[in-house]
C-alpha cells in the first residue's frame, strides 16, 4: 500500500502522545501521592488513604454515569440537584416508613430504591428532552439543575431531614472486614461499568454513537433510545450518589451536593474522557475523582483557605482540557 511509509514515519511522534493520553493520568496521580507523602507524614497511612477514597466515592459513583453521557458527546449538569432530591426522598421515605421505631433493612432498601428511582425518572426526562425535544443537553440539564434543586427545597421545606436510623448510616460508615462499604460499592460499580463499556454491544454503541451518531443510526441502532437510556442510568447513579451522601451526613440537606456537577465533570475530564465524545475509559474517571479529592485534602493539610480550593479545582479542569486538546490535535489529523 502506497500510504504505508507515511504512516510508519508518523509513528514515533504519535507514540508518545498516545502514551501521554493513555497513562498521563496515572503519572499525575503518582506525582500527587508522592508530593503529599513528602508534605505530610500521616498521608500514607492506610486509614488516611482509605478515607480519601471514601470521601471521593460519592462523586466517583455519580461520575460513572456522567462518563457515559460524555462518551455520547452529551453533558449532564443536573447530577448535583438530582442527587440532592434523591437523598431527600430517601430520607423522607425512611422517616415515613419508620414511624416510631428505627427503620429495618427492608425499609432501608425500599427507601434507597425509591431515591434511585427518582434519579432514573429525572435522568429519563433529561434524555427525552434532549433527544425528542431537540434541545441541547447542556440547556436541558441546566434547566433540570434548577428544577431538581427547587423540588428538593420544596420537598424538605428548606429544612434538613434528621434521624434516619442506625441501619441507614451503615451504608457510609459500615465495613466489611477492613474495607469500608463505600469502597466496595465503588469497586463493584466500576468493575461492572468497565466490563459493560468494553465488552458489550451496547457499550460499543455508546462509544460509536459518540464518535459518529449518524453512522450508528444508519447501521440500524436506535441511538435515541440508547441516549435516553444512558441519561436515565446517569440519573440513577446520581440518585445512588445522593443516597451515599445522605447516609454519610446522616441527614438529607436541602442544599446538599450543590455545585457537584463541576466536581463530577472534572473527574471525568481529568480521567481523559473527551468532551467531544467517543473516547475515554471509565476506570480513569475513578482516578480523576481520587486526584480531585487529593487536591482538596492536600490543600486542607497545607491550611490553604477554602476559597483557593475552588479556584484550584476550576484551574485544574481547564488545564486538563488544554493539555488533552493539544495532545489530541495532531493525532491522525483530528477526525471529529
Amino acid at each position: 500500500m502506497p500510504e504505508a511509509p507515511a504512516a510508519v514515519r508518523e509513528q514515533p511522534r504519535r507514540h508518545w502522545r498516545e502514551m501521554a493520553l493513555s497513562y498521563g493520568i496515572y503519572i499525575i496521580l503518582a506525582l500527587f501521592v508522592l508530593t503529599m507523602a513528602l508534605l505530610s507524614p500521616n498521608f500514607l497511612r492506610a486509614t488516611n488513604l482509605l478515607n480519601i477514597v471514601v470521601q471521593a466515592s460519592t462523586v466517583a459513583v455519580i461520575a460513572v454515569g456522567t462518563t457515559m453521557v460524555i462518551l455520547l458527546a452529551e453533558i449532564d449538569l443536573s447530577v448535583g440537584s438530582v442527587a440532592a432530591l434523591a437523598g431527600a426522598v430517601t430520607a423522607g421515605v425512611l422517616k415515613a416508613a419508620a414511624g416510631a421505631t428505627a427503620p429495618g433493612l427492608g425499609f432501608v432498601l425500599l427507601a434507597i430504591l425509591t431515591g434511585m428511582a427518582i434519579g432514573t425518572a429525572l435522568g429519563a426526562v433529561n434524555g427525552a428532552l434532549t433527544v425528542w425535544g431537540g434541545i441541547p443537553s447542556f440547556i436541558v440539564t441546566l434547566g433540570m439543575l434548577s428544577v431538581g434543586r427547587g423540588l428538593t427545597l420544596l420537598y424538605t421545606g428548606g429544612r434538613p431531614i434528621f434521624g434516619l436510623g442506625e441501619t441507614f448510616s451503615r451504608i457510609a460508615y459500615g465495613k466489611l472486614g477492613p474495607v469500608p462499604v463505600p469502597i466496595l460499592v465503588l469497586v463493584a460499580l466500576y468493575t461492572v461499568a468497565a466490563l459493560f463499556l468494553h465488552t458489550t454491544q451496547l457499550g460499543r454503541y455508546i462509544y460509536a454513537a459518540g464518535t459518529n451518531r449518524r453512522a450508528v443510526a444508519l447501521a440500524g441502532v436506535n441511538v435515541n433510545r440508547l441516549k435516553v437510556g444512558v441519561f436515565a442510568l446517569a440519573g440513577t447513579l446520581a440518585g445512588l450518589g445522593g443516597v451515599l451522601l445522605t447516609s454519610r451526613l446522616d441527614s438529607a440537606q436541602p442544599t446538599a451536593a450543590t455545585g457537584w456537577e463541576l466536581d463530577v465533570i472534572a473527574a471525568v475530564v481529568l480521567g481523559g474522557t473527551s468532551l467531544y465524545g467517543g473516547r475515554g475509559a471509565v476506570v480513569k474517571t475513578l482516578v480523576g475523582a481520587i486526584i480531585l479529592q487529593l487536591i482538596s485534602n492536600g490543600l486542607n493539610l497545607l491550611n490553604v483557605q477554602a476559597y483557593w480550593q475552588q479556584i484550584t479545582k476550576g484551574a485544574v479542569i481547564l488545564l486538563a482540557l488544554l493539555l488533552e486538546r493539544s495532545l489530541r490535535r495532531v493525532r491522525g489529523g483530528e477526525t471529529m
Binding site: M1, T199, T200, R204, N212, A217, A219
Partner: protein
C-alpha cells in the same frame, strides 16, 4: 433467470422538506444484475432518493416495490433486512472503531448474553472481517487500528465490505470515488461490474460522468427533483447527459453542448 419484474421499482415518489419539493413524482426501476447510474446537479434530489430507498427518509407519496412485493422501507434496519445496502458518500464509518468494528457495526457477533448485556465476540469478528476482505482481494488493516487513521481507499474498502457482508440484493454506492486518488478510484470502479455479474443490482451516484458512462448499463438523470431522462448507457453520450443535467437552454447558453 427469467425475471420479468425489476428488483426495485419506484413509482411516483414524492418527498417534501417543509416547503421544498425535493422529489417530484419520480419513477424508476432497477433490474437484477444491472448497474444503474443516478446523476444530476447538486440539489437535484439524488441523495434524497437514495435515502428513501435505504430507509433513512420516508416518502410523502408514491409506492415502492422490492423483489416483486410492495414494501414500506420504514427504517435503515428494515432496508438491510430485505437486502438493500448503502455505502454513503462520507462513508458513515465510526472513526474510533477498527475495521472489523465498522464492518460489524449494528450486527456484532455476540458471544453470550441478552437484552442490554450482550458480550461481543471480538476475535470472531476480526477473523470474519479478514476473510470477507480477502474475498474482495483486500487486506484488513491490523486489528485495533482506528479507521480514522486509514487512507481514503482503505476506508472505502472497509465501507464496501461492510455493505457486502450480508450478500445484499441491491447495493447503493453514493459517490464512491469522490474521496479517492485516481488509482484508488479505478479499483473501486471495478466493483459495480463484479457485483452485477453475480446478479446483484447496483445503483451508483456520481458527479464524474465519465465514470458513470464507463460502468453503468442505464443512466437516470434528475433535475430539480424530477426525473428528466432514463437512458441506456450505450445510446447516450457525455454531451447528452450534460444537457439533461443542466437543462437544454442553459446548456446551450453556457456553451456545454
Amino acid at each position: 433467470m427469467a425475471n420479468a419484474t425489476p428488483l426495485l421499482q419506484l413509482d411516483g415518489i414524492v418527498k417534501r422538506f417543509g416547503g421544498v419539493l425535493a422529489l417530484d413524482d419520480v419513477s424508476m426501476s432497477v433490474e437484477r444484475g444491472t448497474v444503474v447510474g443516478l446523476i444530476g446537479d447538486n440539489g437535484a434530489g439524488k441523495s434524497t432518493l437514495i435515502k428513501v430507498v435505504s430507509g433513512a427518509h420516508q416518502p410523502d407519496g408514491g409506492a415502492v416495490r422490492f423483489d416483486g412485493a410492495p414494501v414500506r422501507i420504514s427504517t435503515p434496519r428494515f432496508a438491510k433486512e430485505i437486502g438493500i445496502e448503502t455505502v454513503y458518500q462520507d462513508l458513515a464509518l465510526v472513526d474510533t472503531l477498527d475495521a472489523a468494528g465498522n464492518i460489524f457495526l449494528g450486527r456484532e457477533i455476540v458471544r453470550f448474553g441478552a437484552g442490554p448485556v450482550k458480550v461481543l465476540n471480538k476475535r470472531r469478528m476480526q477473523l470474519s472481517a479478514r476473510e470477507l476482505l480477502g474475498r474482495l482481494g483486500l487486506e484488513l488493516p491490523s486489528s485495533g487500528t482506528e479507521v480514522g487513521m486509514l487512507s481514503g481507499g482503505q476506508r472505502q474498502s472497509v465501507a464496501i465490505s461492510r455493505a457486502l457482508y450480508t450478500s445484499p440484493k441491491l447495493v447503493i454506492l453514493d459517490e464512491p470515488t469522490s474521496a479517492l486518488a485516481v488509482t484508488e478510484a479505478r479499483k473501486v470502479l471495478e466493483l459495480p461490474r463484479t457485483l452485477a455479474d453475480q446478479g446483484v443490482a447496483v445503483i451508483i451516484i456520481s458527479h464524474t460522468l465519465q465514470d458513470v458512462l464507463d460502468v453503468t448499463d442505464r443512466i437516470v438523470v434528475l433535475r430539480k427533483g424530477r426525473k428528466v431522462a432514463d437512458l441506456a448507457t450505450t445510446d447516450t453520450s457525455l454531451e447528452e447527459l450534460v444537457t439533461y443535467i443542466v437543462g437544454s437552454e442553459r446548456a446551450k447558453g453556457a456553451g456545454y453542448a
